[in-house]
């Protein structure tokens, strides 16, 4: 085999080469060995090529999968970026402050401003004060009775109308509260009239289906005309 390879690789001297070629014609064993060597080389080349091709095909499969993954991740990333941008835009354009027309806003206002009542000097005498005291001590029923009685005797008393409405509101009697505040709100003779604003609060607390839009309209009116409570309105 060594001699055969040396002959094929042309590393024999000229004389050795000539001897080899002569022997090839006359020595069947040598001829067989050369035939074997040539075919073995062919077989080795073919087998090596087949194996290398399989390795390259495997590399191609890996690249194809990687490409699919890359495409998927690219689209997923793009979709995520678009989603985040959209979400960010939406969040930035949202007003973090509670909306004026929310029931929660109305509840907060009522708790903050109607937990106790104060009275102005010369506003109607001891009866109103007694009604307010009863309210401030938590005796809403007594307070309601006092103010209802006062209203019967003086239906045009704006303070009594206001307090009647507030007591009804605190007691959860929203229909009565709305009625009182509405009457108050329609008056044109008052310097400062909280009627429409309070009516809106009562509507929001009552929380019936059409109340929200009614309250919205009242609050827009309060804001536009700068009626009492307009600074609280967030339009």
């Amino acid at each position: 085999m060594d001699q055969i390879e040396n002959y094929i690789n042309n590393t024999l001297s000229a004389a050795e080469r000539a001897d080899f070629e002569q022997a090839l014609k006359t020595d069947p064993a040598l001829a067989e060995a050369v035939a074997f060597y040539v075919q073995a080389q062919q077989a080795a080349q073919a087998e090596a090529r087949a194996r290398r091709k399989a390795e390259l095909d495997q590399l191609g499969t890996q690249m194809s999968r990687a490409r699919q993954r890359t495409t998927f991740y690219t689209y997923a990333t793009a979709a995520s970026v678009i989603l985040c941008l959209g979400l960010g835009y939406w969040l930035l354009t949202q007003d973090p402050r509670p909306k004026a027309q929310d029931k929660a806003w109305a509840t907060t206002y009522i708790e903050k401003n109607f937990s106790t009542l104060t009275t102005k000097m010369g506003s109607g005498g001891d009866s109103i004060q007694i009604g307010i005291s009863a309210y401030n001590t938590g005796n809403l029923e007594k307070s309601q009775a006092i103010f209802n009685d006062l209203l019967q005797r003086d239906s045009l008393n704006a303070e009594v109308q206001k307090y009647s409405g507030i007591v009804s509101l605190r007691r959860g009697d929203y229909d009565q509260a709305i009625k009182h505040f509405h009457r108050l709100g329609t008056r044109t003779d008052l310097m400062s009239n909280p009627g429409k604003f309070y009516e809106a609060l009562a509507l929001l607390q009552q929380n019936l289906p059409l109340n929200k839009s009614k309250a919205e309209n009242l609050l827009k009116e309060v804001k536009a005309a700068k009626l009492e409570g307009w600074k609280e309105v967030e339009y």
């Binding site: 090839l24 040539v38 073995a40 191609g60």
Partner: protein, 201 residues
């Protein structure tokens, strides 16, 4: 990710293949990766499946590697152009193979004739008569039955690696020792052949 792998220039790839050893294998893979996109183009152009296009591409790459090693590719055209031409031919071969469902009949005998071309004419006819169609396939089967080390060595020789490169990768002290082992493995391969009047056993 393949997106961020470094792409070598053509001359770097060619130099790497010709350098041999581990660098050759690495640069062969780089060549394959660099022009992999041609497969999709071929699919549409020749209307063949992805598998067929991929098979033709692998064949084309191996042919280009052979031509680079044998210096048949002289660098007069761009490597991409050269590869593309071979790849197109391989795709056409694939289509013909799919249509007729058989390989070209005379391929093996042409290869064997080429293998004997280095012999003088008289010797060619003597040796040629001893070579049987299909014997190469039998030898391939026998090759798979050899021990791992012998098989790896013969396959490396078949791929065109020198004895020096084989010695380095397989841990032999010198090229001469690697060569002796390889020839011994060839003898083993010959021994594995069944008795046949052709071989005079």
């Amino acid at each position: 990710m393949f997106l961020f792998k470094k792409t070598l220039k053509d001359d770097e790839i060619l130099r790497g293949i010709q350098a041999g050893g581990t660098q050759r294998r690495l640069c062969e893979n780089k060549l394959y990766e660099k022009y992999y996109y041609l497969i999709r183009e071929a699919q549409f152009k020749h209307k063949i499946s992805n598998d067929d296009a991929q098979s033709a591409y692998s064949d084309a790459i191996l042919s280009v590697i052979d031509h680079v090693l044998s210096k048949r590719f002289e660098g007069r055209s761009e490597l991409k152009t050269y590869l593309y031409q071979i790849f197109t031919n391989k795709c056409v071969d694939q289509i013909r193979k799919n249509t007729t469902n058989k390989a070209a009949p005379h391929q093996n005998s042409v290869a064997l004739d080429d293998a004997l071309a280095w012999l003088p004419d008289e010797a060619q006819s003597v040796v040629g008569k001893l070579m049987i169609e299909g014997e190469v396939e039998r030898l391939r089967e026998r090759l798979r039955l050899l021990g791992d080390k012998c098989r790896e060595m013969i396959l490396a020789w078949g791929e065109g690696y020198t004895d020096d490169e084989i010695a380095q990768t397989m841990g032999y002290n010198t090229a001469a020792v690697a060569k002796t082992s390889r020839l011994r493995c060839l003898e083993k391969l010959r021994e594995k052949l069944p008795p046949d009047p052709q071989w005079g056993n």
